[in-house]
Amino acid sequence: MTELVLPKINKKTLDKKEYIFKALAKLINPENVLSHVDEIKPYETDALVAYKQTPLVVVMPENTQEVSNILKFCYEENIKVVPRGAGTGLSGGALPLQDAVLLSLGKFNKILEIDFENKCVVTQPGVTNLGLTHAVQHKGFYYAPDPSSQLACSIGGNVAENSGGVHSLKYGTTTNNILGVEIVMMNGTICRIGGKTLDQEGYDLMGLICGSEGLLGVVTEVTAKILKKPQVVKAALIGFPTIKEGGNAATEIISNGIVPAGMEIMDKALIEATDNFSKAGYPRDAELLLIVELDGTESEVDGLLKEVSTICKKNNCSSLKLSNNEKERLSFWAGRKAAFPACGAMAPDYYCMDGSIPRGKLTEALLEIKNLSKKYNLPVANCFHAGDGNLHPLIMYDGGNKEELRKTEEFGSEILKVCVRLGGVITGEHGVGVEKRELMCEMFNDNDIQQQLDIKSSLDEKNLLNPGKVYPILRKCAEEGRVHVHRGEEKFPDLPRF
């Protein structure tokens, strides 16, 4: 997208490139040190493909000790390190730096132990989210967080981003579903946090690591909690003639004491896009579509579906379909799951935003997004995890058109500002990364950010681990006042920054 300001390049690192390659090749299997341009090119971006940067070198350690040795070496030599899981992150959290070692956890791809007795799986971080469920489903268990990229995203990346999914309201996000982690700190220290027990004593380091976007430590092992599959899962597919009525119904469902396993909302633009794309059979006359999924025992689910139907009818729904079998339930989700590719088919590019808002503010948010869409003359489709308030507007644009690109980014920022104004946050599940870095000041003031930076520098005093992510990079220290830099226009370009 627009030019991105990254941390100041350490020329000394670039100058000793050859020395670094050789040293790394001594620390791990030389075959796992990639330095040729053809080898490192695939790592130049994560799923936020608008930003690209080839790293200095890519290393693929095979065990924790190797990770520790690499980090210790980089710490001593003042070399930056960017950790990377599967590279499916949408906020540029794994964007390489020209003068940084890219640490890929790709070879940490084994499940180490399946412990049904303690209801957990001990796994290396490179195993995919869905891989965990696949490993335990033969006994009726599953791993609850289900980000849409679950087929490809790694569990280590899930920890770094605190990934959620469509079932977060009832089952929580990653932080609520892991029991332990092993991490390696920037100076090479290996630390085990938690284990197979519930909770832990002392400071909740696992809570801190979860969602820290690779800034505090590299995750080398995860102990994930597994759950028994519910007895019955059913869903309802409900169309509404207006956004307001659909939004009200979603709010009423919650205020009536129902906690759906999943509750999704799609606006008209997305209904049409997905129905064209996946032939899901959605009600095309509806302005808003609500999918409500409930789980539990047979009678519990039937009872709740009845209540949901009553609430939706009261709010003038135009169509209401209940799933009669598993096939039908999955067909309700088929369109929703095809939402992103459907938008991809409608425009050369789309930009997926990720804010959270209080559920009750949905109508207001969608209306504002509609107005912004007119202002920027860019089409937008919206899906909303109504259970947990996570909003994903998808802005469609042509990346080949530079002006459109600029407008798209501005449009996206304005949407996130709307989220904050309505009482929400700038990222619900995609992370801040480089994408929303400068928007942190919309939510936090100097003191808030300084506290977070103090934690960062207490654990990584040289600021070598994934620098330039999450926190506004061109911000001066709090004592001197905040500089909110827009598009790299900085007042004192020669001052050293952190």
Binding site: E117, N176, G202, Y203, I357, H385
Partner: protein
Amino acid sequence: MSIEVKKNSQIFQDSNNTYYPENEIEVSNIIQELYKNNLSTELIGTGSKSFIGNKVQAGNTLSLSKLSGIVEYLPEELYVKVKANTLLEIIVKELEKNNQELAFEPIDFGFIENGKSNKGTIAGYLSCNLAGSRRFKVGSVRDHILGFRGVNGKGNVIKSGGTVVKNVTGYDLSKLVTGSFGTLVALTEVVLKVLPKKKSSNTITIHTEDKKLVNELFEKISSSSSEISGAVYVPDEPDDENYKHNKEMLFKFNDLKFKGSFLALRIEGDKISIDEKIKVLTKELNFNNLSTSILDVHQSVPFWEKINNLELFSETKNNLLRAVIPPSKGNELMQQLGNKYKYYIDWCGSLYWIEVQSKKNMEITKIKKLIKDLGGYLTIIKTSPDYDYEETIFTIDDTRLLISEKIKKSFDPKRIFNPGKMYRGI
């Protein structure tokens, strides 16, 4: 505190160097002064849980009890924002109006301290992160904190999180602050996730002395999809007539048909789904071959209150230990404990509450080692008056201690808040 600050803030200070700020700005002003003058302070609310942890060595006390009241409660958004030292009872009462609750089932520690209810403030629950019987199903206190405001050790007001459940904006400091025993931040405001209360509950008790069977049942319960929200085992040991009598009196319920040891499990939901779940469980747990009783909702609710509030150890003058282990190690631990201790098991086989008699402090070291070897951890929740602190209150390894020291320093560089409450140097 300087005369200037006193004049400006009008903060009440009693003769024991206890400050009573009335709002966040006053908290910040006092802490800035303490920071400037290198003065350590104990942070307290109503003091209901102050006996947990090490004794704080500080010349000042900062009572945050005046920061109380509900700021915003939106039942349809499933959150309540409160000033941090709001009494738990006030919050619970407010939530009940909308059939909602704090699902982590706050423990009433008043019983072990004074034999009567004393729930204290929500900040106290956050500081300790000790969740009740429903924990294995719904998560701990930390899983129900959406955000907070507070003052760090430099006197700066900071915030983290928000009011929405899905939020990955910056580090999750709400988790870090929860369970930090007031060593990082003086909390001023807290946002709590609330959930609908279940319509009803039943409790099935299974009467058995067979420890192997108990652990087998725990395993089956945790593998069940019937969403059991409480599972506890109360053994009928040690052979102490007085204790047995107290236990019998405590769990005197019309439908509790048998005496002796029992395992109890709680099923929640509406009446039809409870019946449905009992039917499934009868098959899954093979109830037909066991001696069972069913407690209806009128008995089930008080039963779990007694369990959750540690009433078995009411007013104990002994040491009370809290051990958490991987549930698969239950057989081993029960065997080792033998019939020497009064104890019971909560969290479906994970949590052990163990009483160690006064003057037998050496045994704590032995049990602690055992728990550690089993992959768990042990906290001394209450110490006997003669406790010699030979064994530390909390368990931590060197690496985590080092990291914790660094984190402490980032919040409270001069170690003003609750010095030594958790660990030496923190």
